[in-house]
């Protein structure tokens, strides 16, 4: 049994070369789907697998594909390679090191929803990644694995990269589509959702890079094979991006349900200088701060269990915080990020983050009083549930939970 489903480059050298990828079964799943399966059958297998989106929201992938409006054509697939959540660096490793498996996932999903064109939206900073993918796509076209009349059928598919230009909000799927259309990347009002009104107003599936990279092996080995991995509610494997104060930060592919303790201490080598761990952020900068007590450390990382800690697993970007920094310093960083990245479309998010950044800076500089801490909490409270997209909610997670769960840090910081 191989150790990896996604980070297979770690055990198969040169899997980024097409002949090596093909020798290891590459593009057999796509060939098999196109030549021997109906699109709906492909979607059914993905449904059976229990695969849920890895971009953060955890929406069931097969179900999303089945929502595509079949009365409106053409259909599109867009791979979300915007990867901008602080603490997340898994999609980049996948695309740089196992690019063909990702592209085969894009191809299979395109066949499943009847798309003849797919786009990979790369954040602008992934300039090198996008050019690398362009080369890989050209190789696939040359090898007859992308292009017209694939495998002698009437199915045709082209894949293109599209480069963004620096904006976290473009990871939000409707902002991403606006950006692809040559506009400012600001979220759309929803509904309608992309499977009925997506790119150019056409039905569109938007899926995360990691989500799609799971697909080839699911088609090869069957939905049940995948469902048997992970936990009941969160099936399969995940690439956990581990960062912060650990000895060995990096990506770790593990089954869902692995505990925080195992990730941090067995895989991540423990905390730098063997200091105590104080707080964990499980979904990057968008996370609630989890108090890292024994109960939290022994919590399995699946969506439901992390929710019981009043936090979210999101994209599983685990930022580890020890006692060398204070929580007001942490909030100063997260608020600065969201203030910078708010797209400005709605007032509570735009103005709220502006105010939060002023207040947290004052607190962190030691110029504030306890009243300012309460004011900060109340500004965050006023942002809650009033925003057009989830960024507004993300921006207050660390603020509210930081103040509520680590009050001693704020008492120490104020006059």
């Amino acid at each position: 049994m191989s150790k990896y489903i996604l980070l297979r480059h770690r055990e198969i050298p040169d899997i980024n070369k097409l002949d090596v990828y093909k020798k290891n079964g590459g593009f057999e799943a796509f060939r098999n789907a196109v030549t021997a399966m109906k699109p709906d059958e492909v979607t059914e297998i993905v449904k059976t697998s229990g695969l849920r989106g890895r971009g953060g929201a955890g929406f069931p992938t097969g179900l999303k594909w089945s929502f595509m409006d079949n009365n409106n054509w053409p259909h599109y697939v867009v791979a979300n390679a915007d990867e901008s959540e602080p603490g997340t660096f898994k999609d980049r490793e996948i695309m740089e090191s196992n690019p063909f498996q990702f592209l085969e996932g894009v191809a299979i999903s395109s066949y499943a929803v009847g798309a003849n064109a797919a786009y990979v939206y790369c954040r602008g900073e992934f300039w090198q990644v996008a050019h690398y993918l362009d080369e890989k796509i050209a190789e696939l076209e040359e090898a007859g694995l992308l292009g017209e009349n694939l495998f002698g059928t009437d199915y045709s598919l082209r894949i293109y990269t599209h480069l963004g230009a620096g904006a976290y909000i473009c990871g939000e799927e409707t902002a991403l589509l606006e950006s692809m259309e040559g506009k400012r990347g600001q979220p759309r009002l929803r509904p309608p959702f992309p499977p009925s009104f997506g790119l150019y107003g056409k039905p569109t599936v938007v899926n995360n890079v990691e989500t799609l990279t799971n697909v080839p092996l699911i088609i090869t080995n069957g939905g049940q094979w995948y469902k048997d991995l992970g936990t009941e509610d969160t099936t399969g494997v995940k690439v956990f991006s581990l960062s912060g104060r650990v000895k060995e930060p990096g990506n770790y592919e593990l089954p869902f349900g692995t505990t925080f303790r195992e990730l941090i201490y067995e895989h991540g080598g423990g905390i730098i200088d063997d200091r105590p761990v104080r707080a964990i952020m499980a979904a990057g900068a968008s996370s609630a701060l989890i108090v890292a007590d024994d109960k939290a450390l022994d919590t399995p990382m699946d969506y439901a269990s992390v929710r019981e800690l009043n936090a979210d697993l999101g994209s599983a970007s685990i930022i580890v915080i020890d006692d060398t920094v204070s929580i007001d310093w942490v909030l100063n960083k997260t608020v600065h990020f969201f203030k910078h990245e708010s797209c400005g479309k709605c007032t509570p998010c735009r103005e709220g983050n502006y105010w939060m950044s002023h207040i947290i800076e004052r607190i962190h500089d030691g110029e504030a009083t306890q009243n300012d801490v309460e004011l900060l909490h109340s500004v965050a409270n006023q942002i809650q549930n009033k925003c057009l997209c989830a960024l507004g909610e993300f921006s207050i997670q660390a603020v509210m939970t930081g103040i509520e769960r680590f009050p001693q840090d704020f008492e120490a910081a104020v006059k």
């Binding site: 990867e83 901008s84 959540e85 602080p86 603490g87 997340t88 660096f89 999609d91 980049r92 786009y119 954040r123 602008g124 900073e125 992934f126 300039w127 090198q128 293109y160 599209h162 480069l163 963004g164 230009a165 620096g166 904006a167 976290y168 950006s179 692809m180 259309e181 040559g182 506009k183 400012r184 990347g185 150019y200 991006s241 581990l242 960062s243 912060g244 104060r245 930060p249 990096g250 990506n251 900068a285 930022i319 580890v320 915080i321 920094v325 942490v330 960083k333 997260t334 990020f337 910078h340 990245e341 797209c343």
Partner: protein, 170 residues
């Protein structure tokens, strides 16, 4: 006369061909990068040329430059060193790295060295959080990642750029 359209005709055709014929506008982000290639920023003239090529208004093009961080409406350093000091990198020494590098170069964050060669900017997460301190270098012609850096390794890089510039001059 449309300089961009003439100079990059083939490249622009290829870019536009990625999108449906009636959706040329999707090419605008790529064309803005092309406009920056020569002198690192997008000029007013560039904006109206791009607008003409893609049948957009100049305002529609111009508004993108302010929205996306990788476009510039003013000239800047030849090499923009964009260091990530977001939370995960800052937990691994990114802030100290910036301070020391700036000291060494005698500039503040956001400033350019006197010779116009290098600027140091602090930016948000670049999806390389396990490899701090890290930065990307943006030039007119692209973007390059440099991970697990030190002040020494960065200064060596800058020396190389200086040498390249001086050999071009002479």
């Amino acid at each position: 006369m449309n300089k961009i359209a003439e100079k990059y005709a083939d490249e622009i055709q290829k870019i536009i061909a990625k999108y449906p014929p009636e959706e040329k506008r999707s090419a605008v982000m790529s064309l803005l990068y092309i406009a920056q290639r020569e002198d690192g920023h997008v000029s007013k003239q560039d904006i109206s040329e791009i607008a003409e090529i893609l049948e957009m208004t100049s305002t529609e093009v111009a508004t993108l430059i302010g929205f996306y961080t990788l476009y510039y409406d003013k000239p800047g350093a030849k090499y923009r060193i964009q260091i990530c000091n977001d939370l995960p990198c800052a937990l691994r020494g990114a802030d100290e790295f910036i301070t020391k590098l700036c000291e060494k170069l005698g500039i503040q964050i956001g400033e350019t060295t006197e010779d116009g060669l290098v600027s140091v900017e602090a930016v948000m997460c670049l999806a390389a959080c396990d490899k701090a301190p890290m930065f990307q270098v943006q030039t007119g012609d692209g973007l390059e990642y440099h991970e697990l850096q030190s002040v020494e390794s960065t200064m060596e890089l800058i020396e190389k750029w200086k040498a390249a510039r001086d050999s071009q001059v002479s």
